[in-house]
């Protein structure tokens, strides 16, 4: 009797029906999407790695020169017969512009997020949030254009030099990453449970003590993540930076001298080189640096995320 019932159930369970067919179709469709994404990513990684490394393997470029040399002229060879590929000025430019932007945008963004979440949640929700969402959507070329026509002349009037340089790039980038960092910081601050805020106030802390000692401390991993996301965006931004930095391939001695970044050299140079030549390969090496850096940012964010959930 029992055995028969089970068999009957099995029968209905294993019978092919239209529902199962839809299920399988959906499964294979989503699986295909995953495979495609993975394949494209793998292809890009392979291309950038193989091209980027060929500067050093095929064209006999020196890795040491690449990271320490200060002259960039890949078309020529030096006395040792190696291409001149000193990328240090760009690496320094990129790091400086990213670091200073984060230093400016980070505190401002966290301050704005505190205001929106803790001080004036109503005004924050009604006015600031839409404004910030709007700012996130502005294309980078617009930021660059504003930088070129407002920031550069302004710096030229105040400081010696042409106005182009790290300072101009930093100002443009700070403004550009500010909305992203602010909205991520806001998420982090708002995800601090209400119960912790109440617990802090109930222990006789002022609102300011609650914000500093409980909210910010609890949200710290999320705030760090927000700043690193901003840094990743700043490091990878090309167009807006290229428009205001001056594009001189030297290590600048001040923030107001023309400089360049990895991205600006890449965008400027890629139209003028031929695939397979050493000039082109050297640009791929720069692209490889960008890729590795963004990988590095991603790993840091993931590590912070893991620490947070643990």
């Amino acid at each position: 009797m029992m055995a028969k019932t089970i068999k009957e159930i099995e029968h209905t369970l294993y019978r092919k029906n239209s529902k199962m067919r839809t299920e399988r179709f959906g499964k294979s469709l989503t699986f295909l999407a995953v495979v495609l994404t993975a394949a494209i990513t793998a292809a890009i990684l392979f291309l950038v790695f193989s091209k980027g490394l060929s500067t050093f393997i095929m064209n006999d470029g020196s890795v040491k020169d690449f990271f320490t040399g200060t002259t960039w002229n890949p078309a020529e060879v030096n006395s040792l017969g190696k291409p001149i590929i000193g990328a240090l000025p760009f690496i320094v430019g990129s790091l400086a512009i990213t670091g200073i932007s984060a230093l400016i945008a980070g505190p401002l963004a966290i301050g704005a997020a505190i205001f929106m979440s803790e001080i004036a949640p109503n005004a924050g929700k009604r006015i600031m949030q839409p404004v910030i969402e709007l700012l996130v959507g502005i294309p980078s070329v617009v930021y660059g254009f504003i930088g070129l026509s407002v920031v550069v002349p302004f710096l030229r009037d105040l400081f010696p030099g042409s106005g182009f340089g790290i300072a101009a790039g930093t100002i443009v980038l700070s403004v550009m990453i500010l909305p992203t960092v602010t909205s991520l910081a806001l998420d982090a601050i708002q995800s601090v449970p209400r119960s912790l805020r109440e617990a802090s106030l109930a222990l006789g802390s002022t609102r300011w003590q609650m914000i500093c000692k409980v909210v910010l401390k609890t949200a710290k991993p999320g705030l760090l993540m927000a700043i690193i996301f901003g840094m990743a965006r700043a490091f990878g931004e090309a167009l807006a930076v290229q428009m205001v930095i001056g594009n001189a391939s030297v290590i600048p001695h001040s923030l107001f001298e023309p400089a360049s970044t990895i991205t600006s050299i890449l965008t400027m140079g890629m139209g003028y080189t031929v695939m397979g030549q050493v000039e082109n390969n050297a640009l791929w090496s720069l692209a490889l640096i960008l890729l590795l850096m963004s990988l590095f940012f991603t790993i840091i964010v993931r590590m912070i995320g893991k620490g947070k959930s643990a």
Partner: protein, 258 residues
């Protein structure tokens, strides 16, 4: 309403207390006296205003926009509903333990030290003493003394709740408000927290909101039965539970509605 005549040494007294959430009249004419160093349980069905009442006593309701309080709550000689009363100072005197153990994601030590630190205590030795003393008072010291630097979020639910009690005690309150402190705990942890509350009675005036009738009967000296924003009945716990004046009280205690 029947106010027990035996209360003479009241530390908290409310006078025609009204409370509104916007237009909703949540507390109506609350006149209660709480005796010093006794446990008073507030019971009643969900939404009857008992938690709201608890939160008027340390002005936690101030945080909600659109609320209004009328009438008076006397603690000692001060009417704490007056705008001139600093809620920060008030909350140092009137501690609160919440339903869900809201430990900070810091170490056990930092959780206890948080209150004294925010009140300006910087001396490491004094803080060490405060931490030990209050963990002992909350019967948690023996369980955590070897890993005070571990994150408090790693403790069990019952330990976390005792930690939040210790954290509240560390601010040296005179009155303890407890909002369903054991509703999220298992029976063994509940028993431990109840034992703790009973020992705390020697030093603190305790007002506890509970949904657990047995708990109210076990630990409290006085019980107030709230219904629809009013105090329906108030008296000594033994009397109220064995011989309630109103049929609603009787039905609620018997579990006929909740």
């Amino acid at each position: 309403m029947n106010v027990v005549e035996s209360i003479e040494r009241s530390v908290i007294q409310t006078e025609d207390l009204q409370f509104y959430y916007n237009t909703h009249h949540a507390l109506k004419n609350i006149n209660l006296k709480f005796e010093e160093k006794k446990i008073t349980a507030l019971i009643g069905p969900s939404g009857c205003g008992k938690s709201t009442f608890l939160r008027t006593m340390n002005r936690m309701n101030d945080l909600i926009p659109g609320v209004r309080t009328e009438g008076a709550i006397w603690i000692g000689n001060e009417n704490i509903t007056e705008p001139s009363i600093d809620p920060v100072e008030l909350r140092k005197k009137v501690g609160m333990v919440f339903q869900h153990a809201s430990v900070f994601p810091f170490s056990i030590y930092e959780n206890i030290a948080y209150g004294p630190r925010t009140h300006g205590e910087r001396n490491k030795k004094v803080l060490d003493e405060i931490v030990e003393e209050n963990l002992r008072a909350a019967a948690l010291w023996d369980e955590v003394k070897d890993h005070l630097d571990h994150p408090a979020t790693g403790l069990s639910g019952g330990q976390q709740q005792r930690l939040t009690i210790a954290r509240t005690l560390a601010t040296k309150p005179e009155i303890l408000l407890m909002d369903e402190p054991t509703s999220a705990l298992d029976p063994i942890s509940t028993a431990k927290v109840e034992d703790l509350i009973r020992t705390l009675k020697e030093r603190y005036t305790i007002i506890i909101v509970t949904h657990n009738m047995q708990q109210a009967a076990r630990i409290s000296d006085f019980t107030a039965f709230f219904l629809n924003g009013e105090v329906k009945e108030y008296g000594q716990t033994a009397t109220l539970f064995t011989n309630p004046l109103f049929s609603e009280t009787k039905d609620y205690i018997a579990g006929k509605f909740g």
